[in-house]
Amino acid sequence: MSARAGSPDFPGILRDSGLVALVALFLAFPLVGFHTIDQGGGAGMGIETRFPWVVVAVAAAFVGRFLQLALLRTHAPVAVERSLSRLGEVFQRNTVWIAAAAITFAIVLPMLPFADRRLVDLATLVLTYVMLGWGLNIVVGLAGLLDLGYVAFYAVGAYSFALFALHFDFTFWMALPIAGLFAAAFGVLLGFPVLRLRGDYLAIVTLGFGEIIRIILLNWYPVTRGPNGISDIPRPSFFGLEFTRRPAEGEVAFHEFFGLEYSGLHRIVFLYYLILALALITNLFTLRIRRLPIGRAWEALREDEIACRTLGINPTNTKLSAFAIGAMFGGFAGSFFAARQGFVSPESFTFVESALILAVVVLGGMGSQVGVVIAAIILVGLPEWFRDLQEYRMLVFGGAMVAIMVWRPRGLIAHRDPTVRLGVPQRPEPSA
């Protein structure tokens, strides 16, 4: 089992592994070595040491790095890389079929025998992130604007619905377009100051923007009720039919109208279809707009802003439109979130949420619609499903992220199809 480049350089590998172990030691000593415990009986908090764990962590880091360098570096990545590339190719060749199969599966999912409440709930959650990923993909994947504060628009959407419902008795369907508009307006608001920024600088400012929104929600007590949040948000109805056991005077409930036995599952399934529809609209919109001049201008802007200028493209308007439209879908998803939970509070809109949405986009392969779905299942669905394993799921989450960044830095599906083809036979293209 010899390597591509001869036998591995063992002293070098040992040195490297030693270094990694040292870093692990520094990290594990404070993080793992000490553990706060509740001493009970009013004695307050105490500290317990668990140094054997530190040893385990350091040893794991050493062995892991050693194995990675000695074995994986030689064959596994090549094999993994190749099979992932092949997988990507299969996807790109059969996008239509895969999309059709996935959509069909999504539609019949709640009717399948194994679909219990937990699974449908989980699928709803995953689809929320798919929608958010698709929305953010417009900004990050197409326009190339690294946005670390996307959750702000999610929050704006959620609070728009919550507040309009609270003060003006708006229903979900009335509030949905307003939530989108508000979020889009905030997108433009964020867009203006960051027009001249790029890359890391843009990321930092958008991150700040996300935090500003959250902190305003937390502190503007008279309007947002601060950390207490807003509860009793009305649930969405099915064309005016409520999902309640006993509807209010003069109204008809869903189960009555259809002559069904009342079941709590109806609403769960309805919410699932609602987010499925919203996500599919987001996807259709993106697929369509990519082929329009504005979508091409976004991609061109990502590629080379200076060249865009010389072609008469107004970079300001083009960027703002990307921010606004991306934000709008975040806003739609936000009002869905509020409707599903019936409760919103600033806690739901922390930076971690932005990071997770961005991870879905980056991991999936920037600009790839199918990639977002796969990444959402891996990053949101699996950890949630394996909740019983508690913190280990985060470990796996981290491990998966590292593995993908090592082996597929451009995301799971990095392929990009041209938005228009000439339709004449082409010479074979050298692969990039």
Partner: protein, 302 residues
């Protein structure tokens, strides 16, 4: 100096000065360019040629100067306009010394992006496009036709669906010119388009530029190092040195201008014309230069 006689020039540059801190990159430059003409701007490295283009296309705001472009009877003062408006309204297109394509978009998409403004209008700022209304479909078909025309013209039709970044160097240069032409400009500014091309590609480029001049009928501003290209295809040559214009006229006049020869080759008294340089120059120039070396230095005033 301007042979076009009573014709109104397409571009009129007056008193153009561009300072970067203490450095004067362009110094009180004046020149004109006409449609149906290739105007070459030549000069040693660092003479300020690219800076002139950057002023014309709105990347730099000139320290002093008036840049007037006449299109359909309207005068545009380029020094007051944003870069994208210069391209969109005044119709000035350019290429870059180091190619700037959209590398991860296809060749055809590069040409479609160049028609952004026409298509954007036709798509009703995306609404008609989202709904797939016929007026947008028609506009898109026309845009594809124009792209197709230029693809054929620069010989890239059989690579239209490639990523632009995968094209070989010479093809990338041609694509950049085609992309600029797809904006339907009245003035095309080319920054060293022949740099890095082999002899055959360079010949094809000349043909392309002559074709653009004669058949499309627009004005071409050309920055070029290769003297043979300049002498063969330009109608009018402007020579810059340290940001100043030192000569202006038809190729014949400029070629024989001693100031040009001295500046262009930076000849000092003791310097001989090296053989490698002589090989790259047109024979007339070598002759002029050699005779210049033999002459005693006339004006050596500092």
């Amino acid at each position: 100096m301007i042979e076009s006689g009573d014709r109104v020039p397409l571009l009129d540059v007056e008193h153009l000065t561009m300072r970067f801190g203490g450095l004067v990159a362009v110094n009180d430059l004046a020149f004109q360019a006409s449609d149906r003409e290739i105007t070459a701007i030549i000069g040693p490295n660092g003479a300020g040629k690219t800076t002139v283009f950057n002023c014309l296309t709105g990347f730099y705001k000139p320290t002093v100067g008036r840049l007037t472009l006449r299109r359909d009877g309207t005068e545009f003062y380029l020094e007051q306009m944003d870069g994208f408006r210069i391209a969109r309204e005044a119709g000035v297109a350019r290429t870059f010394q180091n190619i700037r394509l959209f590398p991860r978009m296809s060749v055809l998409e590069n040409l479609m992006v160049a028609q952004h403004n026409t298509l954007m209008r036709a798509s009703g700022f995306s609404l008609a496009g989202l709904l797939g209304l016929p007026r947008y479909t028609r506009a898109e078909r026309e845009a594809l036709d124009l792209a197709r025309f230029w693809l054929d013209r620069v010989n890239l039709t059989d690579r239209a669906d490639w990523d632009a970044g995968n094209l070989p160097y010479g093809a990338q240069r041609r694509l950049e010119i085609a992309r600029a032409m797809c904006t339907r400009p009245v003035l095309l500014c080319l920054d060293e388009p022949a740099a890095g091309l082999n002899a055959r590609e360079s010949y094809e480029l000349n043909e392309l530029l002559i074709d653009i001049r004669d058949r499309i009928g627009i004005g071409v501003l050309l920055i070029e190092h290769d003297m043979s290209v300049v002498m063969q295809i330009s109608d009018h040559v402007i020579v810059l040195d340290y940001g100043r214009k030192i000569s202006d006229g038809d190729p014949e006049t400029v070629r024989n201008d001693p100031a040009v020869i001295r500046a262009y080759l930076g000849t000092e008294e003791e310097e001989e014309l090296p053989e490698e340089v002589a090989e790259d120059l047109p024979p007339e120039m070598v002759r002029a230069l050699r005779s210049f070396e033999d002459r005693p230095h006339e004006e050596d005033g500092h």
